[in-house]
C-alpha cells in the first residue's frame, strides 16, 4: 500500500528556510552543531551547560537522574546512559525552555506558534513568568533547535533567556496606554533588547543582568527598583527655557531581589533618550570588567555597586562613556518610535447601559482599567498560577484579533493584558473570555497569588510554592464567595507572592504577604515550611522590601493568611496601609499571632504536615527508627538553632524601632549561635568567644564544605565571615541586610544539620 508523503519538507529547518532572520538562524545552527558535538563528547560539560543556558534551555527537577519517592531516592534510568548536558544533568531528562517576550508583547501569530509548541513538545501549557517570559516544561533538548526555529520565524528568540547574560527586558504592561506615564517606554525597551542581544560588551558577566522599564515612579508595573538596571520615563523642560520638553529617563542600577535584596541606586537623574543605549552599554562594560566572576553568590551587579559605592560606580561608567566607540544604533531607532505601536482597531465608544452577562460587574470592577485614550480600556486576564492551555492561547489569539488587532502584554503578575479595547465591546469580550475559561475576576487582587515553579519543576525548590498558591487561590475564592474575612474590602488589593526558596523568583520580598520555602526538622523527619515575609511594598516600583517574621509549616500557611488578614481588618486605623499596619503593630505581635501554628505535632499525631501541598510524598527520607536515632543528635542542634532564630527575631524588633546598631549586633549574635549549634555536634566543649566559634566553624564546616549549599556553595558561610570581620555598623540599610543574611545563615544551618542527619542515618543503615 502506498502512503502519502508527510510533506515536501521533512524537517522544520527545511520548512522554515528563508523565514528565520539570518542573525537568529545562524545562532540556532551553531547550537544545533554544539548539540551534535556534545553527543559525540567533543564539548566540555560546563561549557555546554552555559551554551544551552544562553539559549534558554534550562534544567528541571530530577534531571540528575535521581528522584525521591518519599522513602528513598531512586535512580531514573534514562535511555541515554552516561550522556549529559551539563554537570550532573542527564541528556534525556526533561528540561524547561524559557522564551523571551520583550516587554511582554505578543501578537496573534506568536501566540499561535507558542500554543503549537506547547502541544507538540511540552505538556500543553504555556506558563507566564514573573518577568513576562513564557516557559515551556518537560522539553527534550533534542527538540530545542526546531522549537527555536519556529519561534524565530515569528520574531521570538530564546537567546540569552538564561545564563550569565542580559535577560528578558521587561516593561510596564500599561506602557502606551497608562494615564500616568509621560510617554510610552515600549519602543525604548524594544531598542535596548535588540541592541544588547548578543552584544560583545554583554557576553562576559559573572551572573545574569536584568533590565526593567517603567512609565512612572508610583506604580508597581515595571518594578524598576528591584532590577540590575531600572529605567523610568521622565520629561523635562529643555534647557533653552521655552515650554518645550524633552524625553528622557531616570536610571537606577544595582537593585535586585535574590537571597538578600538590594534597593537600586540612582545612576542618573536624567538621561536623554539618545543617551540611554550608550549608558546601558557602559554599565555592561563596567559590570563585565569588574563584576565578580568566581563567587557566583556575589556576582550580581548589586554587589559591585555596594562594593564600589554608587559614586565610584558612576565615575567608572562615565569613564567608559568617554571611550565608547560611536555606534549608529544608539539613536537610529529614534527615527521610528512607532515600531511597537498597537493602534486600536475598533472605534472608541463608551459602555452603554444594557443587559450584562453573569459576573460581568465583578469582572469589570477588578480586571478592567481605563486607558489614557478616551473610550478605551485595558483588560486583565487572571491566569491561575500563570498557566494557560494551548487551546486557550490559540483562542485568545483569535479573540484579540477581533477586538484589538491581535496584541497582548504579559504582566509581572503572571497575567495577560489586552489593551485598546473599546469600552462598548466589554460585555461581548467578557462573554468570549468566559467561554474560553479566561474570564475569572480578581486580577491583581488578593486571590491573584503569584508563585514561582518551586518544587514542581525547579531544581532549587525547597517547598511547593505552586501547590501553596493554588490552595490559597481556592481558599480565598471560597472566603470571598461566603463573605469570610478574606472578602473584606480592606484586604481585597493585598498582594500575596510565593517563592519555593530564598531566591525570590516569586518576588516575595515586594508582596504585602510573601512566603519563601524552607524546611524544619521534627520528630526525626523534615517538614516543609514557608517563611512569612511582611512589610514589602509592591507600589512605587517595588518601593521597599519585607523581612521574615517566622517560619510556619506549609500546611498551616492558609490559616496564617486568614489570621493576618483578620488582624488587619479588625485593628487597622483609618486609611492605614497593610505595610504601615505591620510596622505599627510590630513583628512581636505578629509572631505571637502565629506562634501556635509553629508548634509541630509528631509524625504519628499528624502526618499531614509531613508532606507538601499537592504532593503526597513524605517530605523526608529515612524511616522512623533511623529518624529517632538521628533525632537525639538533632535535638541539641535544633535547640541551638532555635535560639539563633530567637536572636535574629530580636534583631528584627530592634530594626523596627530604628536601632540599627543593636539590630546588626543581634544578627551577628544569631549567626554565631547557629554556627555554635552546628559545632556542638562535633565539639561539645566549644566556648562562646566569637573568634573560637568562627575558627571552629571554618575548620569543621567550611574547609570540609559540609556547610556548603548544593547550589549556592560557600555563599552563606561567607555571610558569617564577613560580619565577623566587620561587626559594627549603624547603617539601617546594612543592618537590614545583615538581618536577612542571618536568617539565611540559619536556614543554611538547618539544611546542613539535615544533611548530617541523613549521612548519619545512611551510615547506620
Amino acid at each position: 500500500m502506498s502512503q502519502p508523503t508527510v510533506d515536501s519538507a521533512a524537517t522544520w529547518k527545511e520548512r522554515l528556510e528563508g523565514r528565520v532572520p539570518p542573525r537568529l538562524d545562524e545562532e540556532i545552527n551553531i547550537f544545533e552543531t554544539q548539540i551534535a558535538q556534545k553527543q559525540q563528547g567533543k564539548i566540555d560539560d560546563k561549557v555546554f551547560a552555559e551554551t544551552r543556558l544562553r539559549r534558554g534551555v534550562y534544567g528541571q527537577r530530577y534531571d540528575n537522574g535521581q528522584r525521591h519517592d518519599g522513602t528513598a531516592s531512586r535512580a531514573l534510568e534514562y535511555p541515554c546512559g552516561d550522556l549529559t548536558k551539563g554537570p550532573n544533568t542527564v541528556w534525556d531528562a526533561p528540561g524547561m525552555l524559557r522564551i523571551k517576550i520583550p516587554f511582554g508583547a505578543m501578537n496573534g501569530e506568536q501566540m499561535e506558534v507558542l500554543a503549537d509548541l506547547a502541544e507538540e513538545y511540552s505538556d500543553g501549557i504555556a506558563h507566564v513568568t514573573t518577568r513576562q517570559d513564557i516557559q515551556l516544561h518537560f522539553i527534550h533538548i533534542d527538540d530545542t533547535p526546531d522549537i527555536m526555529r519556529r519561534l524565530a520565524a515569528v520574531g521570538i528568540t530564546t537567546q540569552e533567556a538564561c545564563g550569565n547574560s542580559v535577560r528578558n527586558v521587561t516593561a510596564c504592561p500599561m506602557a502606551g496606554v497608562c494615564r500616568d506615564e509621560p510617554f510610552d517606554v515600549s519602543p525604548y525597551a524594544h531598542a535596548l533588547t535588540w541592541f544588547l542581544l548578543g552584544h560583545k560588551d554583554a557576553q562576559d558577566f559573572g551572573r545574569k543582568f536584568k533590565i526593567a522599564f517603567s512609565g512612572c515612579e508610583q506604580h508597581a508595573c515595571g518594578l524598576a527598583n528591584m532590577h540590575d538596571l531600572g529605567v523610568v520615563a521622565q520629561v523635562r523642560s529643555t534647557s533653552n527655557g521655552t515650554t518645550n520638553t524633552e524625553r528622557g529617563f531616570r536610571v537606577y542600577v544595582g537593585g535586585g531581589l535574590g537571597a538578600v535584596p538590594h534597593q537600586a541606586k540612582v545612576l542618573r537623574e536624567f538621561v536623554r533618550e539618545d543617551e540611554l543605549l550608550p549608558l546601558a552599554q557602559a554599565v555592561c562594560r563596567v559590570f563585565g570588567r569588574l563584576g565578580e566572576k568566581r563567587n557566583r553568590a556575589r556576582a550580581r551587579v548589586k554587589f559591585l555597586v555596594a562594593k564600589l559605592g554608587i559614586e565610584e560606580f558612576t565615575r567608572l561608567v562615565d569613564e567608559e562613556l568617554e571611550i565608547l566607540p560611536p555606534d549608529d544604533r544608539w539613536s537610529a531607532y529614534l527615527g521610528d518610535l512607532s515600531v511597537t505601536d498597537e493602534a486600536p482597531t475598533r472605534p472608541a465608544a463608551t459602555l452603554e447601559a444594557g443587559e450584562r452577562p453573569d459576573g460581568f460587574a465583578e469582572w469589570l470592577g477588578s480586571n478592567v482599567q481605563r486607558q489614557r485614550q478616551p473610550g478605551y480600556v485595558a483588560v486583565a486576564i487572571n491566569l491561575p498560577l500563570g498557566d494557560l492551555t494551548s487551546t486557550q492561547l490559540r483562542a485568545l489569539a483569535d479573540t484579540t484579533r477581533r477586538y484589538n488587532g491581535g496584541h497582548v502584554r504579559n504582566t509581572v503578575e503572571q497575567n495577560i493584558l489586552l489593551r485598546n479595547i473599546s469600552e462598548a465591546d466589554l460585555p461581548a469580550l467578557y462573554a468570549d473570555l468566559r467561554e474560553q475559561g479566561l474570564g475569572e475576576p480578581g486580577a491583581s487582587s488578593l486571590v491573584d497569588v503569584t508563585a514561582c515553579p518551586g518544587t514542581d519543576t525547579c531544581k532549587l525548590g525547597i517547598s511547593a510554592s505552586r501547590g501553596l498558591a493554588g490552595e490559597l487561590r481556592k481558599r480565598i475564592a471560597t472566603s470571598i464567595r461566603t463573605t469570610g474575612v478574606l472578602a473584606d474590602e480592606a484586604v481585597k488589593d493585598l498582594r500575596i507572592k510565593v517563592s519555593g526558596c530564598f531566591n525570590s523568583c516569586g518576588q516575595h520580598h515586594v508582596a504585602d504577604i510573601g512566603f519563601y520555602g524552607v524546611s524544619r526538622k521534627s520528630d526525626g523527619r523534615t517538614i516543609p515550611h514557608f517563611q512569612v515575609i511582611l512589610g514589602g511594598q509592591w507600589t512605587e516600583n517595588a518601593g521597599s522590601y519585607g523581612l521574615a517574621v517566622v517560619a510556619v509549616p506549609a500546611k498551616r500557611i492558609p490559616e496564617a493568611v486568614e489570621r493576618l488578614a483578620g488582624l488587619y481588618v479588625t485593628e487597622r486605623e483609618k486609611g492605614e496601609s497593610f505595610q504601615n499596619f505591620i510596622a505599627r503593630v510590630g513583628k512581636a505581635r505578629i509572631r505571637q499571632l502565629l506562634d501556635d501554628l509553629t508548634k509541630l505535632p509528631t509524625y504519628l499525631e499528624d502526618r499531614t504536615l509531613y508532606s507538601d501541598w499537592g504532593d503526597p510524598r513524605e517530605y523526608t527520607i529515612g524511616d522512623l527508627g533511623v529518624g529517632e536515632c538521628a533525632g537525639e543528635v538533632v535535638t541539641a542542634v535544633e535547640f541551638g538553632l532555635s535560639a539563633a532564630e530567637r536572636e535574629v527575631f530580636q534583631g528584627l524588633l530592634e530594626l523596627d524601632r530604628g536601632a540599627a546598631e543593636t539590630a546588626a549586633e543581634k544578627a551577628y549574635a544569631a549567626m554565631l549561635q547557629a554556627a555554635r549549634a552546628l559545632i556542638t555536634t562535633e565539639n561539645i566543649d566549644i566556648g562562646t568567644a566569637p573568634d573560637e566559634i568562627v575558627g571552629e566553624f571554618r575548620t569543621r564546616f567550611y574547609d570540609t564544605e559540609l556547610f556548603f549549599d548544593p547550589y549556592a556553595g560557600a555563599k552563606f558561610a561567607n555571610y558569617l565571615f564577613r560580619i565577623h570581620g566587620d561587626a559594627e555598623t549603624d547603617s539601617g540599610e546594612e543592618a537590614h541586610r545583615r538581618i536577612e543574611e542571618a536568617q539565611l545563615f540559619i536556614e543554611a544551618a538547618h539544611a546542613c544539620n539535615q544533611r548530617i542527619s541523613e549521612l548519619q542515618a545512611a551510615s547506620v543503615a
Binding site: 508527510v6 498557566d387 503526597p616
Partner: protein
Amino acid sequence: MDMEGAQGHTLDHLVKLDLKVLARGTSAAEPEEFIPVFHRWITERVLPELLIDVADYSHVHEGPGVLLVGHDAIYAYDLSRGEPGLLYSRRHESGAELASIGSLDHRLRSLLDCAFRACDLIEAEPQLGGRVAFDRHRLELRVNDRLVPSDEETALTLSGAFRRALAEAGVRDGDAPVEVKRIGEPRERLTLRTG
C-alpha cells in the same frame, strides 16, 4: 506493507501521536485524586517504561488535568473540550516494548495497547474506588506533529490504519465496528474520532 512515499518520509515515521480514551459520563473522580495514584505508579514502577514526574494542571480550565510524565509518553487524566478521559501522548520510542515498531499500523496498535493498559489500571485503582471507567470505543486519535499536513489525503490514510488497528484490538461499538471520522478545523492538528 510498503510505507515508503515519494519523498522518503511517510506516516510510518510519525512517532508523536496522541490517543485519548473518553471517560464514561458516570465517572466521578476529581482530577486531584490522580496525583497520589500517579506518584505511586512511579514509585512502584507500575508501567514497563521510565516514569519521571507528576504535574498538576487541574486549576486550568479544560486543561491537561493531572499528568504522569514519562520519557516515552505522557499519560494524563485530561479535561480538554470538557470531556474527561485518559490521554496517552507518545513522544519517543526508546523502551524495549516500543523499540521494534516499524509501521504506522503497528504503532497505532501499540498506542491502543498502552492507553488501554493505563485505563485498566485506573479502573482497578483502589484509591479511586471504581469511580472512573472508560468507554474504550470512544477514542480520539491526534497527530501531534505539524510537519504532517492536516489534509484529506493524510486523514484518509490515517483513518484506514486506525480502523485496522481498532479491528485488530477488538474495539467495537456494541456489535458494530466503530466509526472513524475526522473532527476539528484544518488549522488544528489532524484529529480522528470514533463513535
